[in-house]
Protein backbone atom coordinates (compact mmCIF):
# COMPACT_ATOMS: atom_id res chain seq x y z
CA UNK A 1 0.00 0.00 0.00
CA UNK A 2 2.88 2.34 -0.66
CA UNK A 3 0.78 4.56 -2.92
CA UNK A 4 -1.49 5.77 -0.16
CA UNK A 5 -0.49 8.39 2.34
CA UNK A 6 -2.39 9.57 5.38
CA UNK A 7 -4.67 12.44 4.33
CA UNK A 8 -4.05 11.73 0.69
CA UNK A 9 -7.77 11.58 -0.01
CA UNK A 10 -8.38 14.96 1.53
CA UNK A 11 -5.51 16.48 -0.41
CA UNK A 12 -6.84 15.01 -3.62
CA UNK A 13 -10.33 16.31 -2.80
CA UNK A 14 -9.00 19.79 -2.14
CA UNK A 15 -7.08 19.77 -5.39
CA UNK A 16 -10.14 18.71 -7.29
CA UNK A 17 -12.20 21.39 -5.55
CA UNK A 18 -9.57 24.00 -6.33
CA UNK A 19 -9.42 22.97 -9.98
CA UNK A 20 -13.21 22.93 -10.23
CA UNK A 21 -13.35 26.37 -8.71
CA UNK A 22 -10.81 27.77 -11.12
CA UNK A 23 -12.78 26.29 -14.00
CA UNK A 24 -16.04 27.63 -12.61
CA UNK A 25 -14.59 31.13 -12.58
CA UNK A 26 -14.82 31.09 -16.34
CA UNK A 27 -18.58 30.77 -16.07
CA UNK A 28 -18.98 33.92 -14.08
CA UNK A 29 -19.94 37.04 -16.04
CA UNK A 30 -17.01 39.31 -16.70
CA UNK A 31 -18.27 42.05 -14.41
CA UNK A 32 -18.53 39.66 -11.48
CA UNK A 33 -15.39 37.65 -11.96
CA UNK A 34 -13.39 39.81 -9.56
CA UNK A 35 -15.66 38.75 -6.75
CA UNK A 36 -15.43 35.09 -7.57
CA UNK A 37 -11.65 35.34 -7.80
CA UNK A 38 -11.62 37.17 -4.48
CA UNK A 39 -13.40 34.35 -2.69
CA UNK A 40 -11.07 31.82 -4.22
CA UNK A 41 -7.95 33.81 -3.36
CA UNK A 42 -9.16 34.32 0.18
CA UNK A 43 -9.40 30.57 0.66
CA UNK A 44 -5.60 30.47 0.95
CA UNK A 45 -5.92 32.46 4.20
CA UNK A 46 -8.35 29.96 5.68
CA UNK A 47 -6.75 27.15 7.70
CA UNK A 48 -6.52 24.09 5.54
CA UNK A 49 -8.82 21.17 6.07
CA UNK A 50 -12.53 21.27 6.55
CA UNK A 51 -12.70 25.02 7.12
CA UNK A 52 -11.01 25.79 3.85
CA UNK A 53 -13.23 23.28 2.11
CA UNK A 54 -16.29 24.94 3.64
CA UNK A 55 -15.04 28.34 2.52
CA UNK A 56 -14.63 27.09 -1.01
CA UNK A 57 -18.04 25.43 -0.90
CA UNK A 58 -19.52 28.81 -0.04
CA UNK A 59 -17.52 30.30 -2.88
CA UNK A 60 -18.90 27.75 -5.28
CA UNK A 61 -22.39 28.68 -4.14
CA UNK A 62 -21.73 32.33 -4.87
CA UNK A 63 -20.12 31.52 -8.18
CA UNK A 64 -23.05 29.34 -9.15
CA UNK A 65 -25.48 32.10 -8.37
CA UNK A 66 -23.45 34.74 -10.11
CA UNK A 67 -22.99 32.61 -13.15
CA UNK A 68 -26.73 32.15 -13.30
CA UNK A 69 -25.93 28.53 -13.66
CA UNK A 70 -29.41 27.44 -12.75
CA UNK A 71 -30.73 29.18 -15.81
CA UNK A 72 -27.93 27.92 -18.01
CA UNK A 73 -28.28 24.40 -16.75
CA UNK A 74 -32.01 24.64 -17.28
CA UNK A 75 -31.53 25.73 -20.85
CA UNK A 76 -29.03 23.01 -21.55
CA UNK A 77 -31.27 20.41 -19.93
CA UNK A 78 -34.18 21.56 -22.04
CA UNK A 79 -32.06 21.33 -25.14
CA UNK A 80 -30.75 17.91 -24.10
CA UNK A 81 -34.29 16.62 -23.62
CA UNK A 82 -35.43 18.02 -26.96
CA UNK A 83 -32.37 16.60 -28.69
CA UNK A 84 -32.90 13.20 -27.07
CA UNK A 85 -36.53 13.16 -28.17
CA UNK A 86 -35.54 14.10 -31.71
CA UNK A 87 -32.90 11.37 -31.81
CA UNK A 88 -35.37 8.87 -30.41
CA UNK A 89 -37.89 9.80 -33.07
CA UNK A 90 -35.41 9.65 -35.94
CA UNK A 91 -33.36 6.63 -34.99
CA UNK A 92 -35.70 3.67 -35.58
CA UNK A 93 -35.82 2.10 -39.02
CA UNK A 94 -34.38 -0.79 -40.91
CA UNK A 95 -30.63 -0.39 -41.21
CA UNK A 96 -29.31 0.16 -44.70
CA UNK A 97 -32.36 2.06 -45.87
CA UNK A 98 -31.79 5.47 -47.36
CA UNK A 99 -34.49 7.06 -45.19
CA UNK A 100 -33.05 5.57 -42.01
CA UNK A 101 -29.53 6.70 -42.82
CA UNK A 102 -30.68 10.20 -43.71
CA UNK A 103 -32.86 10.49 -40.62
CA UNK A 104 -29.97 9.52 -38.39
CA UNK A 105 -27.48 11.71 -40.18
CA UNK A 106 -29.86 14.66 -40.05
CA UNK A 107 -30.60 14.46 -36.39
CA UNK A 108 -27.05 13.77 -35.23
CA UNK A 109 -25.59 16.52 -37.38
CA UNK A 110 -28.26 18.96 -36.33
CA UNK A 111 -27.84 18.26 -32.64
CA UNK A 112 -24.10 18.71 -32.98
CA UNK A 113 -24.63 21.96 -34.86
CA UNK A 114 -27.10 23.28 -32.34
CA UNK A 115 -24.83 22.38 -29.46
CA UNK A 116 -21.54 23.43 -30.98
CA UNK A 117 -22.28 26.57 -32.94
CA UNK A 118 -23.41 28.58 -29.89
CA UNK A 119 -20.03 27.96 -28.31
CA UNK A 120 -18.30 29.24 -31.42
CA UNK A 121 -20.70 32.16 -31.67
CA UNK A 122 -20.02 33.03 -28.06
CA UNK A 123 -16.30 33.11 -28.71
CA UNK A 124 -16.51 35.26 -31.81
CA UNK A 125 -19.68 37.29 -31.33
CA UNK A 126 -20.36 37.23 -27.61
CA UNK A 127 -23.35 35.80 -25.76
CA UNK A 128 -26.92 36.44 -26.81
CA UNK A 129 -28.29 39.94 -26.58
CA UNK A 130 -30.25 40.34 -23.41
CA UNK A 131 -33.71 40.70 -24.84
CA UNK A 132 -36.77 38.53 -24.83
CA UNK A 133 -37.00 38.74 -28.59
CA UNK A 134 -33.45 37.50 -29.04
CA UNK A 135 -34.15 34.60 -26.71
CA UNK A 136 -37.39 33.89 -28.50
CA UNK A 137 -35.58 33.85 -31.83
CA UNK A 138 -32.91 31.49 -30.59
CA UNK A 139 -35.28 29.16 -28.78
CA UNK A 140 -37.80 29.27 -31.61
CA UNK A 141 -35.15 28.69 -34.23
CA UNK A 142 -33.75 25.72 -32.33
CA UNK A 143 -37.18 24.21 -31.80
CA UNK A 144 -38.11 24.75 -35.43
CA UNK A 145 -34.96 23.12 -36.75
CA UNK A 146 -35.25 20.10 -34.47
CA UNK A 147 -38.92 19.72 -35.36
CA UNK A 148 -38.06 20.00 -39.04
CA UNK A 149 -35.59 17.14 -38.75
CA UNK A 150 -38.18 14.90 -37.13
CA UNK A 151 -40.89 15.81 -39.64
CA UNK A 152 -38.52 15.38 -42.58
CA UNK A 153 -37.50 11.93 -41.39
CA UNK A 154 -41.13 10.96 -41.06
CA UNK A 155 -41.87 12.13 -44.60
CA UNK A 156 -38.82 10.39 -46.03
CA UNK A 157 -39.88 7.06 -44.56
CA UNK A 158 -42.98 7.17 -46.73
CA UNK A 159 -41.11 7.81 -49.95
CA UNK A 160 -39.52 4.93 -51.85
CA UNK A 161 -35.78 5.38 -52.12
CA UNK A 162 -34.25 6.15 -55.49
CA UNK A 163 -31.49 4.06 -56.96
CA UNK A 164 -28.45 4.80 -59.07
CA UNK A 165 -27.75 8.42 -60.01
CA UNK A 166 -31.03 9.59 -58.50
CA UNK A 167 -29.92 8.19 -55.15
CA UNK A 168 -26.59 9.95 -55.45
CA UNK A 169 -28.44 13.18 -56.17
CA UNK A 170 -30.61 12.57 -53.12
CA UNK A 171 -27.53 12.19 -50.95
CA UNK A 172 -26.09 15.38 -52.41
CA UNK A 173 -29.39 17.19 -51.79
CA UNK A 174 -29.46 16.00 -48.19
CA UNK A 175 -25.96 17.26 -47.57
CA UNK A 176 -26.82 20.62 -49.13
CA UNK A 177 -29.87 20.69 -46.89
CA UNK A 178 -27.70 20.20 -43.81
CA UNK A 179 -25.34 22.94 -44.97
CA UNK A 180 -28.32 25.26 -45.38
CA UNK A 181 -29.50 24.34 -41.91
CA UNK A 182 -26.06 25.13 -40.53
CA UNK A 183 -26.34 28.49 -42.24
CA UNK A 184 -29.70 29.12 -40.61
CA UNK A 185 -28.38 28.23 -37.16
CA UNK A 186 -25.35 30.45 -37.69
CA UNK A 187 -27.53 33.32 -38.91
CA UNK A 188 -29.86 33.05 -35.92
CA UNK A 189 -26.92 33.06 -33.52
CA UNK A 190 -25.15 35.88 -35.29
CA UNK A 191 -28.14 38.18 -35.58
CA UNK A 192 -28.91 37.78 -31.88
CA UNK A 193 -25.33 38.35 -30.73
CA UNK A 194 -24.14 41.72 -29.47
CA UNK A 195 -21.26 42.15 -31.84
CA UNK A 196 -23.49 41.86 -34.88
CA UNK A 197 -25.01 45.17 -33.71
CA UNK A 198 -28.49 44.40 -34.89
CA UNK A 199 -30.78 46.91 -33.22
CA UNK A 200 -33.78 45.68 -31.25
CA UNK A 201 -36.10 47.46 -33.68
CA UNK A 202 -34.49 45.61 -36.57
CA UNK A 203 -34.99 42.29 -34.82
CA UNK A 204 -38.58 43.16 -34.01
CA UNK A 205 -39.61 44.34 -37.45
CA UNK A 206 -37.78 41.51 -39.20
CA UNK A 207 -39.33 38.89 -36.93
CA UNK A 208 -42.81 40.32 -37.31
CA UNK A 209 -42.59 40.42 -41.09
CA UNK A 210 -41.10 36.92 -41.12
CA UNK A 211 -43.87 35.40 -39.04
CA UNK A 212 -46.50 37.07 -41.21
CA UNK A 213 -44.83 35.77 -44.36
CA UNK A 214 -44.45 32.29 -42.94
CA UNK A 215 -48.10 32.02 -41.90
CA UNK A 216 -49.41 33.30 -45.23
CA UNK A 217 -47.01 31.10 -47.19
CA UNK A 218 -48.19 28.14 -45.18
CA UNK A 219 -51.76 28.99 -46.08
CA UNK A 220 -50.72 29.03 -49.73
CA UNK A 221 -48.53 25.95 -49.75
CA UNK A 222 -49.14 23.72 -46.75
CA UNK A 223 -48.27 20.58 -48.65
CA UNK A 224 -45.10 21.53 -50.46
CA UNK A 225 -44.57 23.70 -53.48
CA UNK A 226 -46.69 23.11 -56.54
CA UNK A 227 -47.17 24.66 -59.93
CA UNK A 228 -50.88 24.98 -59.39
CA UNK A 229 -52.12 28.52 -59.14
CA UNK A 230 -54.17 27.59 -56.13
CA UNK A 231 -54.36 24.63 -53.83
CA UNK A 232 -57.53 22.63 -53.29
CA UNK A 233 -58.15 24.12 -49.86
CA UNK A 234 -58.08 27.64 -51.22
CA UNK A 235 -61.24 29.19 -52.70
CA UNK A 236 -60.13 28.33 -56.21
CA UNK A 237 -60.03 31.70 -57.90
CA UNK A 238 -57.53 32.04 -60.73
CA UNK A 239 -55.51 34.51 -58.69
CA UNK A 240 -56.29 33.85 -55.09
CA UNK A 241 -56.03 36.82 -52.73
CA UNK A 242 -53.95 34.76 -50.32
CA UNK A 243 -51.44 34.02 -53.08
CA UNK A 244 -51.28 37.68 -53.93
CA UNK A 245 -50.76 38.49 -50.28
CA UNK A 246 -47.95 35.96 -50.13
CA UNK A 247 -46.20 37.60 -53.06
CA UNK A 248 -46.66 41.01 -51.50
CA UNK A 249 -45.21 39.80 -48.23
CA UNK A 250 -42.34 38.01 -49.93
CA UNK A 251 -41.28 40.97 -52.03
CA UNK A 252 -42.70 43.90 -50.13
CA UNK A 253 -42.24 42.67 -46.57
CA UNK A 254 -38.45 42.88 -46.58
CA UNK A 255 -38.59 46.28 -48.28
CA UNK A 256 -40.85 47.62 -45.57
CA UNK A 257 -38.82 45.89 -42.85
CA UNK A 258 -35.58 47.34 -44.23
CA UNK A 259 -37.06 50.82 -44.52
CA UNK A 260 -38.51 50.71 -41.02
CA UNK A 261 -35.22 49.43 -39.60
CA UNK A 262 -33.45 52.38 -41.22
CA UNK A 263 -36.01 54.88 -40.04
CA UNK A 264 -35.97 53.50 -36.52
CA UNK A 265 -32.21 53.59 -36.25
CA UNK A 266 -30.87 56.63 -34.45
CA UNK A 267 -27.36 55.96 -33.31
CA UNK A 268 -24.21 57.95 -32.74
CA UNK A 269 -21.43 58.38 -35.27
CA UNK A 270 -20.45 60.32 -38.32
CA UNK A 271 -22.94 60.49 -41.20
CA UNK A 272 -20.92 57.87 -43.07
CA UNK A 273 -20.90 55.53 -40.08
CA UNK A 274 -24.60 56.01 -39.54
CA UNK A 275 -25.28 55.31 -43.20
CA UNK A 276 -23.24 52.11 -43.05
CA UNK A 277 -25.01 50.93 -39.93
CA UNK A 278 -28.37 51.70 -41.50
CA UNK A 279 -27.50 49.61 -44.54
CA UNK A 280 -26.64 46.76 -42.20
CA UNK A 281 -29.85 47.21 -40.23
CA UNK A 282 -31.96 47.24 -43.36
CA UNK A 283 -30.25 44.22 -44.87
CA UNK A 284 -30.57 42.32 -41.61
CA UNK A 285 -34.26 43.18 -41.31
CA UNK A 286 -34.95 41.99 -44.85
CA UNK A 287 -32.93 38.84 -44.32
CA UNK A 288 -34.79 38.10 -41.10
CA UNK A 289 -38.17 38.78 -42.68
CA UNK A 290 -37.78 36.16 -45.35
CA UNK A 291 -35.48 33.81 -43.48
CA UNK A 292 -37.94 33.42 -40.63
CA UNK A 293 -40.80 33.17 -43.09
CA UNK A 294 -39.02 30.49 -45.08
CA UNK A 295 -38.12 28.46 -42.01
CA UNK A 296 -41.62 28.77 -40.61
CA UNK A 297 -43.41 27.62 -43.76
CA UNK A 298 -40.92 24.79 -44.16
CA UNK A 299 -41.44 23.51 -40.64
CA UNK A 300 -45.21 23.89 -40.73
CA UNK A 301 -45.51 22.41 -44.21
CA UNK A 302 -43.21 19.47 -43.60
CA UNK A 303 -44.94 18.82 -40.30
CA UNK A 304 -48.30 18.86 -42.02
CA UNK A 305 -47.17 16.39 -44.64
CA UNK A 306 -45.70 14.17 -41.94
CA UNK A 307 -48.92 14.27 -39.96
CA UNK A 308 -51.27 13.69 -42.89
CA UNK A 309 -51.17 9.89 -42.86
CA UNK A 310 -51.75 9.84 -39.10
CA UNK A 311 -54.35 12.55 -38.62
CA UNK A 312 -57.75 12.25 -40.27
CA UNK A 313 -58.76 15.64 -38.89
CA UNK A 314 -55.89 17.21 -40.76
CA UNK A 315 -56.94 15.60 -44.04
CA UNK A 316 -60.47 16.85 -43.47
CA UNK A 317 -59.11 20.32 -42.79
CA UNK A 318 -57.00 20.33 -45.93
CA UNK A 319 -59.66 18.86 -48.17
CA UNK A 320 -62.84 20.27 -46.69
CA UNK A 321 -66.11 18.64 -47.68
CA UNK A 322 -64.41 15.71 -49.38
CA UNK A 323 -64.76 12.18 -48.22
CA UNK A 324 -61.36 10.85 -49.23
CA UNK A 325 -61.18 7.19 -50.04
CA UNK A 326 -58.07 5.54 -48.62
CA UNK A 327 -56.50 5.28 -52.03
CA UNK A 328 -57.16 8.93 -52.80
CA UNK A 329 -55.87 9.96 -49.39
CA UNK A 330 -52.71 7.96 -49.97
CA UNK A 331 -52.35 9.56 -53.37
CA UNK A 332 -52.56 13.01 -51.83
CA UNK A 333 -50.10 12.05 -49.13
CA UNK A 334 -47.67 10.63 -51.63
CA UNK A 335 -47.93 13.68 -53.88
CA UNK A 336 -47.39 15.95 -50.90
CA UNK A 337 -44.33 14.03 -49.75
CA UNK A 338 -42.89 14.33 -53.25
CA UNK A 339 -43.43 18.08 -53.21
CA UNK A 340 -41.91 18.69 -49.79
CA UNK A 341 -38.52 19.08 -51.43
CA UNK A 342 -39.77 22.38 -52.77
CA UNK A 343 -39.39 23.83 -49.32
CA UNK A 344 -35.68 23.40 -49.77
CA UNK A 345 -35.85 25.99 -52.54
CA UNK A 346 -37.71 28.29 -50.20
CA UNK A 347 -35.03 27.85 -47.55
CA UNK A 348 -32.36 28.72 -50.08
CA UNK A 349 -34.03 31.49 -52.04
CA UNK A 350 -36.03 33.40 -49.46
CA UNK A 351 -33.12 34.82 -47.45
CA UNK A 352 -31.43 36.00 -50.65
CA UNK A 353 -34.63 37.67 -51.80
CA UNK A 354 -35.02 39.23 -48.38
CA UNK A 355 -31.50 40.57 -48.34
CA UNK A 356 -31.87 42.17 -51.76
CA UNK A 357 -35.30 43.60 -51.04
CA UNK A 358 -34.13 44.78 -47.63
CA UNK A 359 -31.45 46.83 -49.37
CA UNK A 360 -34.17 48.41 -51.48
CA UNK A 361 -35.83 49.24 -48.20
CA UNK A 362 -32.60 50.85 -47.06
CA UNK A 363 -32.64 53.11 -50.11
CA UNK A 364 -36.22 54.10 -49.37
CA UNK A 365 -35.51 54.65 -45.70
CA UNK A 366 -32.38 56.65 -46.40
CA UNK A 367 -34.15 58.85 -48.92
CA UNK A 368 -36.91 59.42 -46.38
CA UNK A 369 -34.46 60.40 -43.67
CA UNK A 370 -32.28 62.53 -45.92
CA UNK A 371 -35.29 64.41 -47.23
CA UNK A 372 -36.17 65.35 -43.67
CA UNK A 373 -32.81 65.58 -41.95
CA UNK A 374 -29.20 64.53 -41.93
CA UNK A 375 -28.33 60.95 -41.04
CA UNK A 376 -28.27 60.34 -37.37
CA UNK A 377 -29.96 63.63 -36.77
CA UNK A 378 -33.63 64.30 -36.52
CA UNK A 379 -35.15 61.28 -38.09
CA UNK A 380 -38.55 60.03 -37.25
CA UNK A 381 -38.85 59.22 -33.61
CA UNK A 382 -37.25 55.94 -32.76
CA UNK A 383 -36.68 55.00 -29.17
CA UNK A 384 -33.77 52.71 -29.29
CA UNK A 385 -30.26 53.09 -30.61
CA UNK A 386 -28.23 50.16 -31.77
CA UNK A 387 -27.12 48.11 -28.79
CA UNK A 388 -23.68 49.56 -28.57
CA UNK A 389 -23.21 50.44 -24.94
CA UNK A 390 -19.84 51.44 -23.65
CA UNK A 391 -18.39 48.26 -22.26
CA UNK A 392 -20.45 45.31 -23.34
CA UNK A 393 -18.34 44.81 -26.40
CA UNK A 394 -15.29 44.93 -24.21
CA UNK A 395 -16.80 42.52 -21.79
CA UNK A 396 -17.73 40.22 -24.59
CA UNK A 397 -14.27 40.57 -26.02
CA UNK A 398 -12.80 39.90 -22.67
CA UNK A 399 -14.82 36.77 -22.25
CA UNK A 400 -13.06 35.31 -25.21
CA UNK A 401 -9.58 35.28 -23.96
CA UNK A 402 -8.58 37.44 -21.05
CA UNK A 403 -9.22 37.54 -17.39
CA UNK A 404 -8.79 41.24 -16.92
CA UNK A 405 -11.17 42.88 -14.51
CA UNK A 406 -14.09 44.52 -16.26
CA UNK A 407 -16.84 46.90 -15.45
CA UNK A 408 -20.42 46.05 -14.78
CA UNK A 409 -22.40 44.70 -17.64
CA UNK A 410 -25.13 46.79 -19.20
CA UNK A 411 -28.71 45.67 -19.05
CA UNK A 412 -29.08 44.21 -22.48
CA UNK A 413 -26.40 41.59 -22.12
CA UNK A 414 -27.42 38.04 -21.44
CA UNK A 415 -25.23 37.57 -18.45
CA UNK A 416 -25.35 40.86 -16.78
CA UNK A 417 -28.62 42.72 -16.61
CA UNK A 418 -28.51 44.89 -13.56
CA UNK A 419 -31.89 43.79 -12.46
CA UNK A 420 -30.91 40.19 -12.64
CA UNK A 421 -27.95 40.69 -10.41
CA UNK A 422 -30.09 42.73 -8.14
CA UNK A 423 -32.52 39.89 -7.97
CA UNK A 424 -29.78 37.40 -7.45
CA UNK A 425 -28.12 39.25 -4.66
CA UNK A 426 -31.39 40.26 -3.13
CA UNK A 427 -32.45 36.67 -3.39
CA UNK A 428 -29.26 35.56 -1.74
CA UNK A 429 -29.80 38.04 1.04
CA UNK A 430 -33.33 36.81 1.35
CA UNK A 431 -32.09 33.26 1.64
CA UNK A 432 -29.58 34.44 4.16
CA UNK A 433 -32.34 35.96 6.24
CA UNK A 434 -34.17 32.72 6.25
CA UNK A 435 -31.22 30.49 6.70
CA UNK A 436 -29.33 32.24 9.43
Amino acid sequence: MSGLRPGGGAIWLRRVAAAAGRGALRLVPAGRRDWAEAIWAEAYEVPSGFRRLAWRAGGVRVIAREALMARKIGRWLLFAVAAALAIRANWPGPPGRFATAIARMDVVTTVLLLAGLPLLARCFLGPAIYSRLARFLRAGGYAAILALMVAKASVLRGVPAETGPALQFDWFAQIVFLVVMAGYVAAILALTAPRSRVAPATLAVGTGAGIALGVVMYAVAPLGLTNDATEPWLPGAAIDPVVVLAWILLLGGPVVAGAVAVLRYRGPGSPQQVTNVRIWQGGAAGFLATGIGGLLVTVLGTGTVALMPRAAWLRNLLYPGQQLLPAVAYSHEFAASERVGGYGLILLAFPVIGLVMGLFGVAIGNSATSSGSSPGGEGPPGPEPVPDPPDRGLAADAEVGTDEPRGDLPRWNEEGPDNEHGEVTAGVAGCVDVAT
Partner: protein
Protein backbone atom coordinates in the same frame (compact mmCIF):
# COMPACT_ATOMS: atom_id res chain seq x y z
CA UNK B 1 -31.42 58.15 6.32
CA UNK B 2 -32.04 54.58 5.48
CA UNK B 3 -34.47 52.73 7.60
CA UNK B 4 -33.35 49.78 9.62
CA UNK B 5 -35.55 47.42 7.70
CA UNK B 6 -33.55 48.11 4.56
CA UNK B 7 -30.74 45.87 5.76
CA UNK B 8 -30.90 42.34 6.93
CA UNK B 9 -29.32 41.31 10.19
CA UNK B 10 -26.37 39.81 8.36
CA UNK B 11 -25.87 42.96 6.31
CA UNK B 12 -25.95 45.01 9.46
CA UNK B 13 -23.31 42.79 10.99
CA UNK B 14 -21.09 43.33 7.96
CA UNK B 15 -21.68 47.06 8.05
CA UNK B 16 -20.93 47.02 11.73
CA UNK B 17 -17.65 45.24 11.18
CA UNK B 18 -16.67 47.65 8.44
CA UNK B 19 -17.64 50.62 10.61
CA UNK B 20 -15.22 49.71 13.34
CA UNK B 21 -12.30 51.07 11.36
CA UNK B 22 -13.91 52.72 8.38
CA UNK B 23 -10.71 53.98 6.84
CA UNK B 24 -9.01 50.60 6.92
CA UNK B 25 -9.22 48.13 4.08
CA UNK B 26 -10.51 44.78 5.27
CA UNK B 27 -10.31 41.41 3.66
CA UNK B 28 -13.05 38.86 3.37
CA UNK B 29 -11.70 36.29 5.79
CA UNK B 30 -11.33 38.87 8.55
CA UNK B 31 -14.87 40.06 7.96
CA UNK B 32 -16.09 36.50 7.99
CA UNK B 33 -14.34 35.88 11.28
CA UNK B 34 -15.69 39.08 12.77
CA UNK B 35 -19.27 38.57 11.68
CA UNK B 36 -19.37 34.81 11.88
CA UNK B 37 -20.75 34.67 8.36
CA UNK B 38 -19.74 32.00 5.91
CA UNK B 39 -18.26 32.89 2.56
CA UNK B 40 -21.46 31.95 0.73
CA UNK B 41 -23.33 34.50 2.82
CA UNK B 42 -20.73 37.20 3.27
CA UNK B 43 -19.78 37.76 -0.35
CA UNK B 44 -23.28 38.20 -1.78
CA UNK B 45 -23.78 40.87 0.87
CA UNK B 46 -20.52 42.57 -0.07
CA UNK B 47 -21.46 42.38 -3.75
CA UNK B 48 -24.83 43.95 -3.09
CA UNK B 49 -23.31 46.68 -0.94
CA UNK B 50 -20.72 47.40 -3.62
CA UNK B 51 -23.46 47.54 -6.26
CA UNK B 52 -25.22 50.14 -4.19
CA UNK B 53 -22.06 52.18 -3.80
CA UNK B 54 -21.84 51.61 -0.07
CA UNK B 55 -18.68 49.53 -0.18
CA UNK B 56 -15.61 49.96 -2.33
CA UNK B 57 -13.27 47.15 -3.24
CA UNK B 58 -9.75 46.91 -4.53
CA UNK B 59 -7.05 44.34 -5.03
CA UNK B 60 -4.09 44.11 -2.69
CA UNK B 61 -1.06 45.66 -4.35
CA UNK B 62 1.65 43.56 -2.77
CA UNK B 63 0.48 40.07 -1.96
CA UNK B 64 2.33 37.85 0.48
CA UNK B 65 4.94 35.67 -1.21
CA UNK B 66 3.40 32.56 -2.67
CA UNK B 67 -0.13 33.80 -2.09
CA UNK B 68 -2.62 35.25 -4.55
CA UNK B 69 -3.68 38.87 -4.30
CA UNK B 70 -6.48 39.51 -1.85
CA UNK B 71 -9.55 41.58 -2.41
CA UNK B 72 -10.01 44.38 0.11
CA UNK B 73 -13.10 46.23 1.19
CA UNK B 74 -14.08 49.34 3.06
CA UNK B 75 -17.08 51.62 3.36
CA UNK B 76 -17.48 54.55 1.04
CA UNK B 77 -18.52 57.90 2.46
CA UNK B 78 -22.10 57.12 1.48
CA UNK B 79 -21.72 53.67 2.96
CA UNK B 80 -20.43 55.07 6.21
CA UNK B 81 -23.34 57.48 6.50
CA UNK B 82 -25.81 54.80 5.58
CA UNK B 83 -24.31 52.26 7.94
CA UNK B 84 -24.18 54.74 10.79
CA UNK B 85 -27.83 55.55 10.31
CA UNK B 86 -28.88 51.95 10.03
CA UNK B 87 -26.86 50.86 13.01
CA UNK B 88 -28.11 53.78 15.08
CA UNK B 89 -31.65 52.84 14.21
CA UNK B 90 -30.95 49.28 15.17
CA UNK B 91 -29.40 50.43 18.40
CA UNK B 92 -32.38 52.64 19.17
CA UNK B 93 -34.70 49.81 18.44
CA UNK B 94 -32.89 47.67 20.87
CA UNK B 95 -32.75 50.47 23.40
CA UNK B 96 -31.00 49.82 26.63
CA UNK B 97 -30.67 46.18 25.72
CA UNK B 98 -28.22 47.06 22.98
CA UNK B 99 -25.15 46.01 24.87
CA UNK B 100 -26.40 42.60 25.93
CA UNK B 101 -27.91 42.24 22.48
CA UNK B 102 -24.55 42.95 20.95
CA UNK B 103 -23.08 40.10 22.88
CA UNK B 104 -26.01 37.91 22.02
CA UNK B 105 -25.69 39.00 18.41
CA UNK B 106 -22.08 37.98 18.32
CA UNK B 107 -23.04 34.60 19.66
CA UNK B 108 -25.96 34.40 17.27
CA UNK B 109 -23.80 35.25 14.32
CA UNK B 110 -21.54 32.38 15.21
CA UNK B 111 -24.43 30.00 15.69
CA UNK B 112 -26.47 31.31 12.76
CA UNK B 113 -29.40 32.87 14.64
CA UNK B 114 -31.03 35.98 13.27
CA UNK B 115 -30.14 38.68 15.80
CA UNK B 116 -28.79 42.14 14.98
CA UNK B 117 -25.42 43.12 16.37
CA UNK B 118 -25.39 46.93 16.44
CA UNK B 119 -22.01 48.56 16.84
CA UNK B 120 -22.45 52.30 16.41
CA UNK B 121 -19.22 54.02 15.47
Amino acid sequence: MRSRSEFSAQTLSVLSALCEEPSQWRHGYALAGQTGLKSGTLYPILIRLADRGLVEACWQEEPAPGRPRRHLYRLTAAGLASASGALASASEALGSAARPAARAGARAARTGRNVVTPVVP
